[in-house]
């Protein structure tokens, strides 16, 4: 870890709340360690702002290990920044050069209203899941022994790959249509690939897709930007699988 310091210029979207108009603000930040993560750089900016008795920039973050899905940010026009396969908390300042100007914006999508500055409301994802993203098994513990539901390794692995979605919303933010198909496709796929999910498969896909439409997400035109920007590499195959499940359910 050869660490060095760089100076950068930031253009940050500031917006008081959902109703207020927002605008880009310019900040200069010196002595940023290249070993710092992008969020640690924002911490540094906020420390500077608080010291100057100015309002710090609100941004979402929590685990800072790339798994909670809380961090977001459009960085220089790309969801989670210039690298692929990572979240913003896994982006490090070594990806930038001394003197760079970095543009930072919130996720922009009709279904994700801005709460403040760089924070958006992603609760639409919760409502989609509440519409059917589960197996309706009683939480009583009166279930059969786990090994009496054998699952082929290949299916389990594929289900896991779909289930690895962290719900960060990069797919929606990066899609020109603001589509949530990659997110919903991943969830539908997880259960479609497992024996436990079969009983409710028809209702699940119909209900989740209906809710997705109600939330105001756009449709999918197979551009594929979602897959490229997905920090977990969730594949477009999941959208295809959801479409097949949907077709199967609609023609029943």
């Amino acid at each position: 870890m050869a660490s060095k310091s760089i100076n950068i210029n930031l253009k940050v979207w500031r917006q008081k709340n959902a109703k207020a108009n927002g605008a880009m603000e310019t900040y200069k930040l010196d002595d940023v360690s290249t070993d710092s993560s992008f969020l640690e750089m924002l911490d540094q900016l906020n420390e500077q702002l608080v010291t100057e008795k100015k309002e710090p920039v609100a941004f979402d973050h929590d685990c800072r290990e790339g798994i909670c899905g809380m961090c977001s940010l459009f960085i220089n026009g790309r969801a989670h920044g210039p690298e692929t396969g990572i979240t913003t908390c896994q982006l490090h300042m070594r990806s930038f050069k001394d003197g760079d100007t970095i543009y930072i914006e919130p996720w922009r999508s009709k279904a994700f209203p801005v709460v403040k500055d760089l924070v958006v409301d992603r609760s639409a994802f919760d409502r989609i899941q509440q519409a059917g993203g589960f197996v309706s098994v009683n939480t009583s513990g009166n279930t059969i022994d786990a090994n009496s539901i054998p699952v082929p390794k290949q299916d389990a692995d594929k289900a896991f790959e779909a289930a690895a979605c962290i719900g960060c919303g990069a797919c929606v933010a990066t899609c020109k249509n603001g589509s949530a198909m990659l997110f919903v496709g991943a969830k539908v796929s997880q259960y479609a690939l497992l024996p436990q999910g079969q009983v409710e498969a028809t209702d699940r896909v119909m209900n989740m897709v209906r809710q997705m439409d109600e939330e105001g997400f756009g449709n999918c035109t197979n551009t594929g930007a979602c897959e490229i920007e997905c920090p977990k590499g969730i594949s477009l195959e999941n959208i295809a699988r959801m479409n097949r499940e949907f077709l199967k359910a609609s023609t029943k």
């Binding site: 870890m1 660490s3 709340n17 940023v32 360690s33 070993d35 710092s36 993560s37 969020l39 640690e40 911490d43 540094q44 420390e47 608080v50 008795k53 309002e55 710090p56 609100a58 979402d60 973050h61 929590d62 685990c63 800072r64 290990e65 798994i67 909670c68 899905g69 809380m70 990572i86 490090h92 070594r94 409301d121 919760d126 509440q130 519409a131 993203g133 589960f134 197996v135 309706s136 098994v137 009683n138 939480t139 009583s140 513990g141 279930t143 786990a146 090994n147 539901i149 699952v151 390794k153 389990a156 289900a159 896991f160 289930a163 690895a164 719900g167 997880q190 497992l194 436990q196 999910g197």
Partner: protein, 669 residues
């Protein structure tokens, strides 16, 4: 007040069954008359809220994140234990119970731990039924792996993302109940006080983090499942928002806080990079199944590595000190976390650390032997009995990638080094807190009607937590313990009726919260909240960290008290109360950490022995191993709040009786 643990009489293996048989019930038609509040929606909270909703109670669940799916349980990597004995390697309920008691250095309750082992198998059944995609063998059955402190393969896993999959499973169960209208979910809400009426927990005061509105919520029982307090150290593997506020507020209302000094320092984290570091990242303990831990044997090699003149791959095999294998041949790299952490510290303190920054701290976790071994195995399995070195390494790397790919990728993203080519650098970091709110066998705190689950309670891990046991406890508490024990309490509440939030107790609690907000925002000090948090973290890590001693602890107590005074005088909190204000949120949390930190040091000071995660310099044997004092310290230390001066807190002792396990020195050699 005497601590009554309410451990049932009778033989160990029948305690829970017998207890359940005699617990009072609430009839299905009466359950909708009863409200329950659940604070926190990680594994324990989400599973509790889902189960209680399923039973028919009215549940209100609260989390400070924007969705319950983001709770920090999601970050757990390695796996979840269960005594299924699927691998036929001698596992049983008793073995899991025994390993957990021994792992906790004989400072956990036998009855609780046995119950945990009993329900463990059922957790796996439940999760599989919910569609959690655990790793499978080719025959379709579940795969297992091994973890520290254990000689069987009982850990179920989903790559390095087991916590994520289990949390998403619990979240899906919770989502189902929200969809059905049985659970009302309050996202981006933080509990800022507990409301007691006639001595019973009757509700909470919460702040809507978006609008700033202060809300009163009533209920017939309150469940706290808000996780651990590792962030008192500032740097830890905990998510940035993890805090002690809910637990600390109920402590101030009369819930005893037990064993606060028991903090797990996890041995396999990525070392600190510099002063701007905001948190630390854990590398799953499962890596110790395949990685060998070493430092250079010669001091000059270590110095050359730190100076950047030597690479670890240039150190010959005979010049490497595989110190865990050397000191603990029976368990080797799979010794429990506290043992591995202290051994790393010992080597680094002795000058053999390898990190080339100011700390000099760090040891290697090396996969080169495993790459060779597995590569050969795979080649043979493919019928190639004469593989070239190149083929072996290629196949070995593929094997590693399948097993640990996401962890290797994560490491590379953070450090910019490729762990397939060069050994990982690791060092211990604050990870999990075994201490927490004192609860009885029913998981009820010393406040009637206030229950505490998961990491927030103290109950199952003793002085050390073995790997893959936190997920197990969270789900056991939420799915399989609380539904019974809360019902027993609520059986007396079916005639109570709705509890008004206009009661004077609610108004008083609301006023306390509003006054505190006013104080923070009008303080107009000169320093940021983070400034104080980092200061506190420094004191905690240096004096209440991996090793403690009397002098350091006394200094820490004074320094923290002073820092707290300074904080309230000089903290600057910008913004207003009626909007999203992360600085205000942090101010509340750091205020609580400052009080808790002092109590942790006090607890560590009174415990004149070394056990598990609590290591006192004064109490060690000739080889540097922990020296317990079972005669004087075989107790749970539960602290009672006595007003603002933390020094006045009163220690109560719950004696630990070992009826079924013979206490022995904890030996992993």
């Amino acid at each position: 007040m005497k601590l009554d643990s309410k451990i049932p009489e009778g033989p160990l293996a029948q305690k829970w069954t017998e207890h359940k048989n005699h617990l009072k019930l609430v009839a299905p038609n009466n359950r909708p008359k009863i409200d329950i509040i659940v604070v926190g929606t990680g594994l324990a909270g989400a599973s509790a809220a889902a189960s209680l909703g399923e039973m028919g109670y009215n549940v209100k669940a609260f989390c400070f994140q924007d969705s319950p799916r983001r709770a920090h349980s999601i970050a757990a990597q390695g796996g979840i234990n269960a005594a299924k004995n699927y691998q036929n390697d001698g596992d049983s309920t008793y073995r899991l119970f025994y390993d957990t008691i021994k792992g906790g250095d004989y400072r956990a309750r036998e009855a609780n731990v046995h119950r945990l082992a009993e329900v463990s198998g059922n957790i796996i059944d439940q999760c599989v039924a919910q569609g959690v995609p655990f790793a499978r063998e080719y025959g379709g059955t579940l795969d297992n792996r091994s973890f520290g402190g254990v000689q069987v393969k009982r850990t179920f896993y989903a790559a390095g993302q087991t916590g994520q999959q289990l949390l998403l499973g619990a979240y899906s169960a919770l989502s189902r109940q929200i969809g059905l209208g049985r659970v009302k979910m309050y996202n981006r809400h933080e509990m800022l006080d507990l409301v007691k009426v006639d001595g019973k927990a009757r509700g909470i005061i919460a702040r809507n983090l978006i609008t700033g509105e202060i809300e009163r919520h009533s209920a017939h029982a309150v469940v706290i499942a808000s996780g651990g307090y590792g962030n008192v150290y500032f740097l830890s593997t905990n998510a940035m928002g993890s805090n002690v506020t809910a637990s600390w507020k109920i402590h101030k209302q009369g819930a005893h806080f037990a064993n606060p000094c028991y903090v797990q320092i996890h041995p396999t984290c990525i070392p600190v990079h510099g002063t701007n570091q905001s948190k630390l990242t854990l590398m799953s303990e499962s890596l110790r199944n395949s990685g060998r831990i070493w430092v250079p044997k010669k001091k000059e090699d270590a110095e050359a590595i730190r100076a950047g003149k030597l690479k670890p791959t240039q150190i010959a095999e005979e010049d490497r000190d595989y110190y865990l294998e050397r000191r603990y041949p029976a368990f080797g790299n799979l010794v429990p976390r506290d043992v591995a952490s202290r051994a790393a510290k010992e080597r680094c303190d002795a000058g053999f650390g390898i990190e080339n920054n100011a700390t000099g701290e760090g040891v290697y976790l090396d996969f080169s032997s495993e790459i060779k071994n597995k590569g050969k195995e795979v080649a043979y399995a493919h019928g190639n009995h004469n593989p070239s070195e190149e083929e072996i390494i290629k196949l070995g790397k593929q094997w590693i990638e399948e097993k640990y790919g996401n962890l290797f990728q994560m490491y590379q993203k953070i450090t910019d080094e490729n762990p397939y080519e060069t050994p990982m650098k690791i060092y211990p970091a604050v990870h999990y807190t075994m201490g927490g709110v004192w609860v009885d066998y029913n998981l009820q705190s010393s406040i009637p009607g206030c229950f505490v689950a998961g990491e927030a309670n103290f109950s199952d891990h003793g002085a050390n937590r073995l790997g893959a046991s936190a997920l197990m406890q969270g789900l056991a508490d939420g799915y399989f313990v609380l539904p019974y024990t809360i019902s027993n309490y609520l059986a007396e509440e079916i005639r109570t009726g709705k509890i008004s939030t206009d009661l004077p107790e609610f108004l008083e609690a609301e006023k306390r919260v509003k006054d505190q907000i006013g104080k923070f925002l009008n303080n107009n000090g000169s320093r940021s909240v983070d400034h104080f948090h980092k200061e506190l973290g420094n004191i905690m890590w240096n004096k209440v960290g991996m090793a403690r001693n009397e002098q350091g602890l006394k200094e820490a107590i004074d320094q923290i008290a002073k820092l707290r005074e300074e904080f309230h005088k000089d903290v600057y909190v910008p913004g207003s109360a009626d909007e999203l204000n992360p600085e205000l949120e942090k101010a509340f949390r750091v205020a609580d950490f400052l009080e808790l930190g002092q109590l942790m040091a006090m607890d560590a000071l009174q415990r004149k022995e070394s056990c598990g995660g609590h290591f006192r310099d004064e109490y060690q044997d000739a080889e540097g191993e922990t020296l317990r004092d079972d005669e004087h310290f075989s107790f749970v230390g539960a602290w009672e709040y006595k007003g603002e001066d933390i020094n006045q807190e009163q220690l109560h002792k719950e004696e630990l009786k070992y009826e079924f396990i013979k206490i022995a020195a904890r030996n992993y050699k």
